[in-house]
Structures are given as structure tokens and as C-alpha cells.
């Protein structure tokens, strides 16, 4: 493998793995996607190395692999129809509950919506850049984001109501 490619892998590997993990919520799948994307990039290294830098190319490859990956055997992701029941959280557990709850909700989003929220709220990209990465229009990106946020808000509000009802009925 070329030395500058290996330098890129060492330098940017952690960021690429974080990106893939946030998309997949599966450590093994994330590494699988990153390795595959890097192998494909290596084949075209001389072409991608200098134009805009290799990282956009690799991220695009990871995204496309994620969006087109077909689940052939059961993975660690187990989408649930209903949120798991939780006791009324105390102050310290509030943060953990919020984090886990949002993470569970994220895992239920369709892949295209999830990819958009990761790119917008973690990678902090503009809609036009997200559109370029995913290969759609900026308007489509906004639609995905709108639907994702609407779904998340509805689920959060529904869960909050459930917790309030539990609080009231708990002696």
C-alpha cells in the first residue's frame, strides 16, 4: 500500500470509524464499511489524492455502502416497535435516559433520514454538501431532515406522556 495512503488511514481512520458507527450503530459493520470504502479509494488513490483530498471520496463511499448494504444475516441492530419501559429517572439518570432514548429512536429511522441527521448534526454540513455526498437534491435533504425530526419529536412526546402517566399512577 502506498505510504501516503497509509498515512491517511492512520490520520483519518478514527474520524471515519466514528462517522460509520453513527450511521450504523454497529461497531463491526462500521469497520466493515470503512475497510471496504478505503479499499475502493486505494484503487483510485492517484485520482482522488489531489483533487479535493481523499476524505470526501471515502465518506461518499461509506455513505453509499451504508445506503445500499443489504442485511444478509441478523445484526446487532434490533429495531423495536415500542420504546422500552423506563422507571421515572432521577436527576443524574436524566442525561443517560435522554442519550439512550434518542439513540434508540435514531436506530429506528430509515437509513436515508439517519444519514442526513448524522451529516447535519454531527458532521455539521450544509444541506448542499449533504446533497452532494448522498447524490440527491438539497430539497430532498431538507425533506429527509424534516421527516426525521418530526418522527423523533413525536416519539419523544409520546414517551414523555407515558412517563407522566406512570408517575401519576405510581403510588
Amino acid at each position: 500500500m502506498r505510504a501516503n495512503f497509509e498515512e491517511f488511514v492512520v490520520a483519518r481512520g478514527p474520524a471515519l470509524l466514528r462517522f460509520a458507527y453513527l450511521l450504523t450503530a454497529d461497531g463491526y459493520l462500521a469497520e466493515d464499511l470503512v475497510q471496504e470504502a478505503l479499499l475502493r479509494t486505494h484503487r483510485r488513490w492517484s485520482a482522488v489524492e489531489h483533487v479535493d483530498g481523499p476524505e470526501p471520496y471515502v465518506r461518499k463511499a461509506i455513505l453509499h455502502l451504508y445506503l445500499s448494504w443489504r442485511r444478509r444475516r441478523s445484526s446487532s441492530e434490533t429495531p423495536v416497535a415500542d420504546l422500552p419501559e423506563r422507571p421515572v429517572p432521577d436527576h443524574l439518570a436524566d442525561l443517560f435516559a435522554e442519550r439512550d432514548e434518542m439513540w434508540l429512536l435514531l436506530r429506528q429511522l430509515p437509513r436515508s433520514q439517519r444519514a442526513v441527521v448524522v451529516l447535519r448534526y454531527y458532521e455539521d454540513l450544509a444541506d448542499a454538501d449533504i446533497a452532494n455526498l448522498i447524490g440527491c437534491s438539497a430539497a430532498t435533504v431538507r425533506v429527509h431532515a424534516f421527516k426525521a425530526l418530526k418522527k423523533l419529536r413525536a416519539a419523544l412526546e409520546s414517551n414523555t406522556e407515558t412517563q407522566l402517566v406512570s408517575t401519576e399512577t405510581t403510588p
Binding site: 492512520v10 444478509r72 435522554e98 448534526y121
Partner: protein, 334 residues
């Protein structure tokens, strides 16, 4: 940014820390690239054999089509684009490959014999340059004539008493040349190469090819045979088996492969298993199930099972437990 967006951002930032560590990423990437090169090498060496087999199938299909058209009209069904899954069946007994029916007895100036392999069920002798130049050659015997090449620039010669055709530039690959002749109704010899060639040297070499049976030295001894699979490729480093619904020389990803690796590969998400008296690891990558078994000398036997071949884990382990590395084996290099 509203409250949901802020919660979302916080969740993403916090969970990003749970991503796998990157310390072994480069090492695993190298291993993955090596395994892919091995599979690509298997596929590349099938090129000429695939063409020969395709022609043989085409000839047979053409004859069948003629009789069909004579009697009735009807379209032959299209071959499925992906093979239907088959389940591995194991039977006691070794795996053997028919020996070569060709033995070169004279050298080819500038080239040396590198390896003898089987590709798409056809034995092939491979030559490489002695000086590292961009030149090489393959020799193979087939029951069917080779794909008809353009006659532009071709010349006629004789190998012993047989008419032979030399094509200096193949239509399928202009960088390659070929010499082909027929010795018996079901015995065609084809020498195909790339790089500079002196026709006199080539004819002298061709005349020294003896029709003797040379056994193929298997890299592995199999205690159990995949009885419903057919040996497709073999070399000093690997043996592949294809289901009956995969054409000879079919894509590597549709064949079961047994390879000898220099060491146990990195296995992300892998699980340790006991294979007979030896430790192994089982993992999946790209839909393919891999079982790697450590050998006493540090090398590893790796079995790759593609998605179109079904096997239970106990059966896979039982198959692996019966495989031994022979003295003819050479570990694949990445």
C-alpha cells in the same frame, strides 16, 4: 436549533465515542486487501479457461438448438444471474484432481515455469520472465477448440505433424499472442503469452510438450469431500469448489475456497472456535463466512463460504478439521 435538534446533536456527540478503535484498522485493511487479491488472482487465471468452456458450452448449446429448431420452436431459458443456494454435503474420502495431460520437456528462453494450477477445471502451466520483464506464458490442454481469433496477421506452422496457428495479437486482448494446434479430436493445446516472442523458440518449445500424465500436487489433504461441489481451481495456495449451478471459472464470490495463509487473519467481530485439536476463528465479511484454523507452524487454513453455499457451523468445523496442509502447499502472499 430547537430542543430536539440539540438533544440529537448531544446524543450523536456522546455516542461517537463508542466507535471502534482505529489502532488495528490499517493492519486489518492490509489483510482484507490480501484476501481480495487472492480471490482476484483465482478469477484472473480463469480467463482463457472460461473462454474455452464458454465456447464448449456454446458449441453444445448450438447443436442442441439446431435439433430444437428442427423439431419445434421454443426459447431456451436464460441462466439465472445469481446461483440458487445449495447446501454443502460432506462425504468421507479425499479430494483429487486429474493430473495434467501435458509435460513440457524443453525450456522457453527468457521464461521459467512458475506454477501449475487448475483454473475452471482446466490444468494450466504458468511461466514468468526470468529477468522480471513484462513477459509470461500459459500452456493448457482442452477438449474443445479455443475461441476463434481474428485471422488478421496469423501464420500457419507445424508442431510435430500437426497444423498450428500463430496469432500475434488476440482480438480479445491485443497485448497477447497465441499458438494453437489439435493433436486428437478431443485434445487441443494452446500456448498463450504476452511480451516479445521468437516464433522459432516457441515452436521448439511446443514440439517438446509431451502427452504424459503428470499428477497435480494438492496443497491440502481432505479427509472429507464436498460431494456436491466440483473442484474448479487449484494452485499451491488454494483450492476452490463450485456448485453445479455455477459455470466453470465462475466468479470467485460464488465458490467455496480453501486457502493457506501466512498467518491467522485479523477477524473483526470473530468468535473463537475449536477445530479438532487446533484453535480457529469464525467471522463474516461482506456476506462471506470465513473460518480460519491455526496450524502448528503459525500458518492458517482459511475456508471461505460464499452466501450461495449453505453450511451449518458444526458441518463447517467438521470439514475444516479434516483438512491437512501438504508439503506441496505454499502460503499465499499479500
Amino acid at each position: 436549533m430547537n430542543d430536539v435538534e440539540r438533544m440529537l446533536q448531544r446524543a450523536l456527540v456522546r455516542h461517537a465515542d463508542e466507535a471502534p478503535r482505529s489502532g488495528q484498522l490499517l493492519h486489518r485493511l492490509r489483510g482484507r486487501a490480501r484476501r481480495r487479491r487472492q480471490r482476484q488472482l483465482i478469477a484472473l487465471t480463469c480467463g482463457l479457461a472460461v473462454a474455452l468452456c464458454a465456447l464448449a458450452v456454446g458449441v453444445q448449446g448450438g447443436l442442441a438448438g439446431l435439433s430444437e429448431r428442427a423439431g419445434q420452436s421454443g426459447a431456451s431459458p436464460l441462466a439465472p444471474s445469481t446461483p440458487a443456494p445449495v447446501y454443502l454435503t460432506l462425504a468421507p474420502g479425499p479430494v483429487t484432481i486429474d493430473g495434467y495431460s501435458v509435460k513440457p520437456t524443453r525450456p522457453m528462453p527468457g521464461l521459467k515455469q512458475q506454477a501449475t494450477i487448475v483454473a475452471a477445471g482446466v490444468p494450466i502451466v504458468l511461466y514468468v520472465s526470468t529477468t522480471g520483464a513484462n513477459a509470461g506464458m500459459s500452456v493448457q490442454v482442452s477438449a474443445a477448440p479455443p475461441v476463434r481469433q481474428s485471422t488478421a496477421g496469423s501464420a500457419s506452422y507445424r508442431v510435430r505433424t500437426h497444423p498450428a496457428t500463430f496469432v500475434p495479437s488476440l482480438a480479445s486482448d491485443p497485448t497477447k499472442w497465441s499458438l494453437c494446434w489439435q493433436e486428437k479430436p478431443d485434445r487441443w493445446l494452446t500456448i498463450e503469452g504476452f511480451g516479445p516472442v521468437v516464433i522459432g523458440d516457441l515452436l521448439t518449445y511446443a514440439e517438446g510438450i509431451g502427452p504424459v500424465r503428470v499428477p497435480f500436487d494438492m496443497p491440502f489433504a481432505f479427509g472429507l469431500t464436498p460431494s456436491n461441489l466440483i473442484v474448479d481451481d487449484a494452485s499451491a495456495s488454494w483450492v476452490t469448489f463450485r456448485p453445479g449451478n455455477v459455470a466453470p471459472g465462475g466468479v470467485a464470490e460464488s465458490k467455496l475456497a480453501v486457502l493457506l495463509d501466512e498467518r491467522l487473519p485479523e477477524a473483526p467481530g470473530g468468535r473463537g472456535v475449536q477445530v479438532g485439536q487446533r484453535p480457529g476463528v469464525i467471522f463474516t465479511t461482506g456476506g462471506t463466512t470465513m473460518l480460519s484454523v491455526s496450524q502448528r507452524d503459525g500458518r492458517a487454513i482459511t475456508i471461505q463460504v460464499p452466501p450461495n453455499i449453505g453450511v451449518t457451523e458444526p458441518e463447517l468445523i467438521r470439514f475444516a478439521a479434516g483438512i491437512r496442509v501438504t508439503s506441496a502447499a505454499v502460503a499465499g502472499k499479500g
